[in-house]
């Protein structure tokens, strides 16, 4: 990783809509160099997507989320990867992490309704023969995601002008 690539990651993770010319000014590189670096980051699958953080609670969509602790049987030769792949293939699954501790996979699931989510767990996830147990916890409220506080009421506490 070059310094430029690192700088770009720091900038883009906060705001990926900054135009190329401003990225160039901010990093001190030329526009061509910035464009190349970003292309490399994308090609190497370091940058996978440019997506906003959305507060869904403020939309009119029905949406429930749950975090499911899943215990699984690792597969010969493939360890946990094959099991994880079976699980992340479901559209309902937003994230899957292999965890240390008392369970194996943490699965973040999203559905329209509680019923839909419960059905996913009971009819799709639990029935996988490699899954030996699940514990589902529903998300009640989201306060902060990816570094962004949803209802940030803090104001700039600084005086307007100080010398």
């Amino acid at each position: 990783m070059t310094k430029l690539e690192n700088d770009l990651l720091d900038i883009l993770r906060e705001d990926c809509r900054i135009p190329l010319e401003k990225l160039a000014v901010m990093t001190g590189a030329s526009m061509a160099e910035v464009a190349d670096a970003i292309e490399q980051l994308e090609k190497n699958k370091i940058i996978l997507r440019y997506a906003p953080v959305i507060n869904w609670d403020k939309t009119d969509r029905d949406r429930v989320e749950a975090m499911i602790e899943v215990k699984v049987l690792p597969q010969r030769e493939q360890g946990f990867d094959a099991v994880a792949a079976r699980i992340y293939a479901f559209d309902e699954v937003r994230s899957v992490y292999l965890m240390s501790g008392s369970y194996d996979l943490l699965v973040l699931v999203q559905a329209r309704t509680l019923k839909e989510l419960a059905l996913f767990v009971s009819e799709k996830l639990s029935v996988l023969d490699t899954v030996t147990g699940t514990a589902t916890a529903f998300v009640l409220k989201r306060y902060k995601e990816d570094g962004v506080v949803f209802e940030d009421t803090r104001e700039d506490g600084r005086l307007v002008i100080t010398l």
Partner: protein
Amino acid sequence: MNYDRYLNASVAAVPPSGIRRFFDMASTMKGTISLGVGEPDFITPYHIRDAAINSLLNGETQYTANRGMLSLRKAVSRYLEERFAVSYDPEREIVITVGASEAIDTVIRAIASPGDEILVPEPSYVSYSPSVIFAGGTPVPIVTTAETDFRLTADALRAVITPRTKALILPYPNNPTGAIMERADLEQIAAVIREKEILVISDEIYGELTYGGRTHTAFGSLPGMMPYTVTINCFSKSFAMTGWRVGYACGPSEIIDVVNKIHQYAILCAPRQGQAAALEALYAGFANGFEDVARMRESYDRRRRLMVQGFRDMGLECFEPLGAFYVFPSIRSTGLTSEEFCQRLLRDKQIACVPGTAFAPCGEGHIRCSYATALDKLNIALDRMAQFIRGL
């Protein structure tokens, strides 16, 4: 009742800060984006705040030693040695003060007698000259200009030294210009100091914030300069700790003893929780290579480049600042004075900047813009300023 006869005439003669009216105007205008703020936009890192909370929970509510907690002075000593190659004895050569402001004031009071001249490069932070006057001394300005990148030159220094000159204030990296002094510049100053034997009060509070591959050189680190140098620094700018009010003065014990005498009568000690927080800032920094400082510096640097380019795109002459978090573009080409420019910009576009004249008469023709503001706001501010200038 007329209080004039009760008030200290020399203090009363010092004008109040020149931006009061402007400040009032800016404070009441809705939607103002301020580029006039002289402090970081970061909140003190959480682990530092947590250390102060723990200090309170532990019941640490008493005075500390006048000079500050010995553990903090030891940490400051190590910090200055590791980061800036200056070595101070924590027992005898360091006093923890209520911000750098108190350090500036007490150091000046410790050395200035009536009739003594203290040299103040300008434009610079607003407290030096008043402190000299309060102490009964005479401030002598040295004008610096964009032609020399607002650096102090040996010639300019030599030209103002008289037999009454006691000390030079060395305010670099500089507020408001963002200028720095590199080692070669400082060596030329050191040669004059060696010859004329005057003291240097080196205000290095922005020492962690230098850019463009430059690192700060502490004046005391130059050969032979320790005996002449009082180093002033603080936690405000480097660690985003302005409201905690913790700074320090370091120097020869003969001077620091007197600084401490004033400090113990006037202040007693810097606030204890501020000291606890400062200690955590340094301990954590030793452990992780000052990553908080590096993170903030990187962030400032990106915004610095954006601002300089933004002003140049507007057609304003803008010398490249390599320190602190200010840009000091020239607005002479608009035909407006600094004050007119800032007032109209505020009224028409709700952008607050500080007229260069708030820092010294020689700041005329410039405005100080702080880039310690969120990136999206800086972009809006630059757009509005460009519109403003096009509309002139």
